[in-house]
Symmetry: D3
Subunit: 308 residues, 6 copies
Amino acid sequence: MEGGPRARDLYLQRPPEPVFGIQRSREESLFSVVGVPFDSTSSYRPGQRFAPREIRLASLELESNGYYVEGDIDRVPIADEGDVAAVPGSALLTLERVARVVEDLAREGKVPVVLGGEHLVTLGVLRGLAAAGLRPCVIVLDAHFDLRNDYLGERFSHATVFRRTVEELGLKLLYIGVRAYEKSEEVLASESGLIEYVPMGRLDIIGVEGAVLAARRFAGGCDRIYISIDMDFYDPAYAPGVGNPEPGGASSREGLALASQLGDRRVCGVDVVEVSPPYDPGGVTSILAAKTLQELLLSAWLRMGRDG
Amino acid sequence: MEGGPRARDLYLQRPPEPVFGIQRSREESLFSVVGVPFDSTSSYRPGQRFAPREIRLASLELESNGYYVEGDIDRVPIADEGDVAAVPGSALLTLERVARVVEDLAREGKVPVVLGGEHLVTLGVLRGLAAAGLRPCVIVLDAHFDLRNDYLGERFSHATVFRRTVEELGLKLLYIGVRAYEKSEEVLASESGLIEYVPMGRLDIIGVEGAVLAARRFAGGCDRIYISIDMDFYDPAYAPGVGNPEPGGASSREGLALASQLGDRRVCGVDVVEVSPPYDPGGVTSILAAKTLQELLLSAWLRMGRDG
Amino acid sequence: MEGGPRARDLYLQRPPEPVFGIQRSREESLFSVVGVPFDSTSSYRPGQRFAPREIRLASLELESNGYYVEGDIDRVPIADEGDVAAVPGSALLTLERVARVVEDLAREGKVPVVLGGEHLVTLGVLRGLAAAGLRPCVIVLDAHFDLRNDYLGERFSHATVFRRTVEELGLKLLYIGVRAYEKSEEVLASESGLIEYVPMGRLDIIGVEGAVLAARRFAGGCDRIYISIDMDFYDPAYAPGVGNPEPGGASSREGLALASQLGDRRVCGVDVVEVSPPYDPGGVTSILAAKTLQELLLSAWLRMGRDG
Amino acid sequence: MEGGPRARDLYLQRPPEPVFGIQRSREESLFSVVGVPFDSTSSYRPGQRFAPREIRLASLELESNGYYVEGDIDRVPIADEGDVAAVPGSALLTLERVARVVEDLAREGKVPVVLGGEHLVTLGVLRGLAAAGLRPCVIVLDAHFDLRNDYLGERFSHATVFRRTVEELGLKLLYIGVRAYEKSEEVLASESGLIEYVPMGRLDIIGVEGAVLAARRFAGGCDRIYISIDMDFYDPAYAPGVGNPEPGGASSREGLALASQLGDRRVCGVDVVEVSPPYDPGGVTSILAAKTLQELLLSAWLRMGRDG
Amino acid sequence: MEGGPRARDLYLQRPPEPVFGIQRSREESLFSVVGVPFDSTSSYRPGQRFAPREIRLASLELESNGYYVEGDIDRVPIADEGDVAAVPGSALLTLERVARVVEDLAREGKVPVVLGGEHLVTLGVLRGLAAAGLRPCVIVLDAHFDLRNDYLGERFSHATVFRRTVEELGLKLLYIGVRAYEKSEEVLASESGLIEYVPMGRLDIIGVEGAVLAARRFAGGCDRIYISIDMDFYDPAYAPGVGNPEPGGASSREGLALASQLGDRRVCGVDVVEVSPPYDPGGVTSILAAKTLQELLLSAWLRMGRDG
Amino acid sequence: MEGGPRARDLYLQRPPEPVFGIQRSREESLFSVVGVPFDSTSSYRPGQRFAPREIRLASLELESNGYYVEGDIDRVPIADEGDVAAVPGSALLTLERVARVVEDLAREGKVPVVLGGEHLVTLGVLRGLAAAGLRPCVIVLDAHFDLRNDYLGERFSHATVFRRTVEELGLKLLYIGVRAYEKSEEVLASESGLIEYVPMGRLDIIGVEGAVLAARRFAGGCDRIYISIDMDFYDPAYAPGVGNPEPGGASSREGLALASQLGDRRVCGVDVVEVSPPYDPGGVTSILAAKTLQELLLSAWLRMGRDG
Ligand SMILES: [Mn+2]
Ligand SMILES: [Mn+2]
Ligand SMILES: [Mn+2]
Ligand SMILES: [Mn+2]
Ligand SMILES: [Mn+2]
Ligand SMILES: [Mn+2]
Ligand SMILES: [Mn+2]
Ligand SMILES: [Mn+2]
Ligand SMILES: [Mn+2]
Ligand SMILES: [Mn+2]
Ligand SMILES: [Mn+2]
Ligand SMILES: [Mn+2]
């Protein structure tokens, strides 16, 4: 790939207002924000294509302090590289573009921070990391397993993303907050040797601290960690604007506290997916997505010990 | 009534998309879903007439697993009989039709599962059960007592439904989550020998487990149990789309956990009322209503020990 | 009725912000504004109960000049008497209260200006006028005839209001803009000797001027004129927030021009009905209702020749 | 195809509430309504997948009379066959299913009436007709040509549907109301021998009557006529809830008058596409879509001379 | 000021529907409700000007009982004096009018109860109290400190209100629930001898009871107490309709329990600010604001020991 | 001003997605787009601060062809310089910044194209032009005169903008579409020698062509022309999302046709103001604003004869 044009020159559009209002140079930055305005396989409520824009706008209104972490996001070396030119109707082309962009970033030593789009985009990100030689353990905050084999005959979909991940890449997965699934997904989750999960009902009992312990145990033997946050992890009271709202989820305080403790020096990628602005009249879901990302990036950065 | 046409042939419209996507035959089914699109006496925010349709649609997007109960709603023998032909402006005619439909169903050994409409429809259901010889103890999840004598001179209203129930039918009532009332209602609730209640402030202290214990104690001597869920039991954060939102209510996790433990082999009827879709922009109230019903029916079915 | 309390003391609530911000004393006023927050028989989209409040608020933002009439609404002797205490669920009680209030007002020589509520309230108004000895010819701007005999068995409904009017009171009717009806309504409209109509398709051809001529001809032999404006007369583009939107209706310019020419010295009552604020997100329907009323009252007042 | 299962048995779901509330038997019916809840290639505002449901619901509130045509939709032999099982994310699979369903219907002598979904579904319909031996002239009401070669590299999209139609099937096209396009589309429209168009600016001058004359001229030598209505033909004031709103469009009166004159005995298929309910807060776009379809079907039926 | 007209005669408009439906005479009343429909300095989401109206309307739907306090709001001597004539675009004029109105009320021994408007109005209230000789300790429920020196060069703004309060009036401040701030604000809060705070993260641990203890300690040496409630103290799930939503806030049960324990015999003023109705589609924020105020006033009144 | 920093470097923020997606270099550009996100004096519905962002986004979805003008906006030399840093709550500071930015642009020979914000920003623009030596005749499309002397005591407001313009700068004004005003404004408009107007009622009669003739006559003796478009010129059916909706306005076809004929080689500035996105649920007002601007700029450019 060295000889030709960089994927990020091919597929990334001019960056609009950057996330958190932070725009470091390519050289200075560690975290590279990339939006993927794609929602063609969404099965219930589309509109995730508008999420990158809305999450960026929401992030501009946040103060820079951490809630659960001492620190200031303004000191974190973030660059917002803009949006991948997603292709409406083509998961194939879009995933390929995402993968190439992520591969480039990872080869340059950047940590991609992806703003979905629907959850399927995570497959593109993980493929890109793999192409760059990174095979992280994956922590997923989600109400769902997304482990179906196909959805109405289509194998590439937000509902199948981790089935493909397991099959193609063989990565280890830990789910937190899962609560709605087909029988076949539960069976796979239980029988595959790669998958662990903390269902929402268990989180209710062990609390955020218990979930953090579970995540530490899971990540014990991992070189790299990837964190994927499907906003339907939260209860619809806190995050109404998602593709598939599931009652009985986490509160904002639980989610923010969790995000602020998942930061880790081994983090090699992060995403926040499934925000659907047309179903988010007051914009509160985008705000919560931005804040969750802020706590996560801040805590990762602090644990990397590089501030100052 | 044997000689003439069945009420359900007279008053039920062709069933649209069935709740949970389950449509067993009349013979196979135990739970008979009936919608009552009626809201003429609503005093604040009308629109409950649209709730049966929206709850059905929301239910189609739910996965079939229970959250707090091991089991699968697809195995529960449910039939969706469609909507009663409610008459806008006439509580009299509508209640009569509801009662006749419910009586027919109960005589056939079915458990009516009613989708309101406003809370007044519960009176029609209880009358129908009584006509079929069933006089259940009633557990009500509600922010209100609905025990007024009249509302601006009108004696049949969502605000008077349990006053009429006590007067006409003499049934025992247990309220959970009540928090807003006129003085006269509290006096009646305290002094009538028929009524018990767990106010929201008490639920805060004793938790879902305490409330379940209270329900078990209450139902101790009962042959039959009826469960009526006014969605304003939930906090408006979780259920904004209701006729009379009252702050300070239950969370979705509390409500779902409670519903999953109220199931009982003696259940002879269930309703979910007061969802008002025009005030539910993102549809989250309908989704929560559908999920609450799912947990309740699943737990009742499992406790009936008939699965398999 | 002389000996007892006045109906308007019994049933009218304390006036909130008055229409157009005008509040003359009882003695000085000619036009008496009365709201009727009632919608219990609405068959499709309820919420008309909130219309009096929203039309009042919208009217406060209007400038006082006429568009199509030279004049200033501030000079018109209007008093806003507040809302009739409508009874949710009871058309019977509500109509009776409306009729008694209107009768009182008419006996005092006032011209009632009624803010619905649903169209059924017009029956209460016309009964009240009749009780005071006034039997006007009625001009109706409406997409519908509202001439059904019953609606799902209920005889008193917005869909039957003029059938009852014809049967009970034998008044002459002229419809303008009608375009959606059952066959039975068209037959009655054509065969009853009392009814004339200018369908919307004809208005398209003869224009506002033609409709005004038709109204003049119709009113030729009448002592008194009553004007009833169902906001669904307008196209849903102009008035989306109504109970039963019908495409293909009048534009705002047509409606305002028409209203400004229907004013007449013989006007003994006026109403504006069917605004449904929950279906009027930007509030444009309430604004148009207020403006239509302003043009109508201003033109009536000017034709009464009493200004100054 | 004779030996295997019918496509309509494979891909059509159980019919929900039928359009206009009319459900004739398969034998009796001439017009076969089919919904296609698909929007994966939409480039701006998705949500067209919800349109079949909303148009059906809106149609139930319409009266049965024609506005611009004497007649009653209840007499038209319509059957609502339900929705094709569209596959989120796969235009390929969805178009194939649409085509097979339409082919079956056409072979049985039915006139398919398709409720989109995005405009791309028209390609599936026309392929299905072609497979059954029907090659109609196509009249398109649209603000756009939809004649691009590809959209961000994707060749099958709502923006390319008629480019594919011309290439694959060589059908003749007449556009009415077109007003927004890329240069390349205008060139193709002007230079291809197959395409005529009446731009919106011209419609402004020649009026509905002129457009009807143009359509008659266009259809002069055609055996069969297909009519495709993209709701963005209307001005966003009348139809805000569409995928790509374009100001300066037709009024509801223009559109309904036009639809009521396009009916023709040679009509072999019809569609109404691009309604996007999430962007249609008051539901007025769905209502207008339903009414437009009603006028069109009624006028076609009357011109077929088969009533009675 | 004695010789001229009273400010409240100059600047207060005719009272609309009073808060809680309670309207005692000037003489009988202790709590004087005043709305301030002002939002000109809002930096993110304006619309607070509409809050007084919406909070009043919401309050009318509440029952009169306390949730966490035994008592009935109907017995509390409240008068609703209407809205101050705020001047769009002029903080200067508006603050002056607020201060003069409040000064008058305080001199008459009334406790002003202010419905914002944006948080800047609190400065006017505190100035007015100071002019009448009252220098209370101030308890602030807020997600923010509002301690900036200026906002884009403007020194009078909702974001600077307590900086000005400290500078001008030297009052002591206790914040509860604060969680988002600039570094400079945290420094000032920590180093100024006047300011204490319980951050949201601490509230999470010590609970409502801990916060009440902190408030008691803070108020120990105070003669007078003022309570200011910025509705963004609540989580956006509970209060989406605010000017600057901040995730991770209080639940309704926490806020109501807190309000019901902050009542105190020394209370000399109260405000509820920052509700923004255009961002509150279902109206739940206004309802929660009204209920919070109800608990607060009821508990203050009971602690004053004057009931009966 | 030469010695110090350029105002545009001081006050303009980094340009986000440019209007129409066109971003020529400073040197190449003739039209310089500047947003002014200011709404502090809005008297009814605030939110105009969000208009620059929404108009830009809407413009990106438009095709590049003119409707009423032959031509392509992509060929017009436009640069989008971003938004002036408006100061919430301070008209003084904001107007000064606008004026300085506009002065700089005008001195460089650019034509400022201003996206409001409320109408008051036009005063800043005209002051800036005057400072650069340009004193244009002003054509205003507006439902209002905006000629009040003060609004509740505030002299700088959207309701007084042209009173200040006349007093301060003595410019000639032509209004088109005016229909709502105080008596004092009409008097001033009629008696000042500087003002002409075509009321909406007259536009109804003379049509777009008549209005264009009036504009040509008015501009006959002018060296420079400025065009200010208040979106409330349009009827609320077409432009619901404005600060002060007035029924009875222009249709989109009238407005676009007019805009496409007002372009003139003497144009030295243009603005589009008063869009209020919070009141524009489906975004149609922003789309119409963008399209109106597109026709206007395209026609101006073509009349300047510089294309190619
Ligand atoms: Mn999920
Ligand atoms: Mn997921
Ligand atoms: Mn209740
Ligand atoms: Mn209830
Ligand atoms: Mn009507
Ligand atoms: Mn009517
Ligand atoms: Mn189109
Ligand atoms: Mn199209
Ligand atoms: Mn705050
Ligand atoms: Mn604050
Ligand atoms: Mn203006
Ligand atoms: Mn204006």
